[in-house]
Symmetry: C2
Amino acid sequence: MIGFIGFGEAAYEMAKGLTQEGVTGIIAYDPLLIEQDMSHIIKEKMTAVGVVPCADAKEVAIKRELLIVAVPAQFALAACEAVEEDLTASHLYVDVSASSPTVKKNIAAKIAKSNGKSVDAAMLGPLTVNQHKVPMFISGDGAHEFKKRMDPYGMNITVVSEQAGDASSIKLMRSIYMKGTAALLMELLEASRELKVEDQVLASIKETMEAVPFEQVVNQLVTGTSIHSERRGIELEGSLELLEQLSINSVMTQASKTKLDYVSQLGLRQSFKGNRPSTWQDVIDEMKVKHQASKAGEYHASK
Amino acid sequence: MIGFIGFGEAAYEMAKGLTQEGVTGIIAYDPLLIEQDMSHIIKEKMTAVGVVPCADAKEVAIKRELLIVAVPAQFALAACEAVEEDLTASHLYVDVSASSPTVKKNIAAKIAKSNGKSVDAAMLGPLTVNQHKVPMFISGDGAHEFKKRMDPYGMNITVVSEQAGDASSIKLMRSIYMKGTAALLMELLEASRELKVEDQVLASIKETMEAVPFEQVVNQLVTGTSIHSERRGIELEGSLELLEQLSINSVMTQASKTKLDYVSQLGLRQSFKGNRPSTWQDVIDEMKVKHQASKAGEYHASK
């Protein structure tokens, strides 16, 4: 049923999970199969989970119509090029690599030429823990079909759009928030625990974050910051001083101050005449206007 | 009943709100009262809200036992010194300035010498909007008394501890999270809207942030990052590339990557032998151990 191109940790875990769900007939190719030293090891790994090895990627593409391509990001385009002329309108090409949205779009364009359908899949966690059930965002013209075919096997797939690149973009944007929040927490918890106020600090943040639904928190924070960035930047100096006193790494707080100063210098407060705009979208759209005006200014200045 | 030392915007709004709640007998001193040009204006402001002007801070301290000191942070210590010898065991000295925890502690020590009680108050929002009802964290040996006396007038006071400095520390730590989150959001929403995936990005973050109570989110993020900081730092490179492609300011994402690299370099993964620790406290405590070991190393190296 499924052919894997690339059989590293991700494909192995996925194949293992799917086999346990009753999927049969999985075949796979991995470049290590033709490396003398490694061939033995990778073959053993495949047969351990009931996967049949292939001689090359072309063989996988010829024998199977559902291809899951799980190669390191830097090889994703090459993997596609290795099989593109063997693809037909029946093929569903699913790239689960951590490639950029641009690479995912380029792959989708190649697949479209073959009349096959493609999926940009972004995995949102380690497969070693969740195996085939890892939360996965997908987009592309084959997204709905892939979800429909895989849902019976317990996969945790969310279709985000029919545009290749979207799933990867969402993952990368989501990452900014989740990893940034982790970094912020480490910084403030180090200081708060040193000051023995960690419980109250977390309780206070919890109260604000959980008082209203997340979308309202976003709206309050972004619209408020658009007109109060200058004052808030100055207020952060107190936090920075305290971190310095405690000799605690303050890279996130410094960046927050720099970002607030950057927002101040865009002049959003003036754009909104000091009145808080209604939605975060108003703020972001005005930021874009300011950027474009500043680029136009540079253009005129350079003439 | 109440004497204000410093009568800028904060004291004015508080006095106005408290007067409307039925508080009478408020007196106040502000240095502007003795500046020829400003005296008239500040007196008018006081009388407009039923506040009686005093000749100096000492007069306020002698005539009233509940003192609310609302001066700019850099004058907070001087304001205390101006009245300390007039304070008695009946005095309750409430500093609502945005001073550092250290200044708040110094003030508390001075008040303690006079046998009076003191409050470190941190205001968590603009008084122009909430007046006397602005959310306020307080700490210090006079905290419970102040809350008891002011609750009947609709003030929104939370006692956080009996240690001066704690209220201000909590405010400064909370600030790191709230302002940092705002800065993160502006960065990722600028990019997400440009990519037209903003709704899915917010929905995905919302799902994760609201799936479990905030304290569990904190635990997952901090413990996970302690052992996966290196991988997560590398993953952020994709987000950075995308921001660069879109010409969007990436100061927060860059800082997050720097912070993750910093955590990796501390060697927490090795400390925990690759196993996720149970609580965020384990992580923060191990960070402290690592810092101390590295300081000791520097000490030995410099000998």
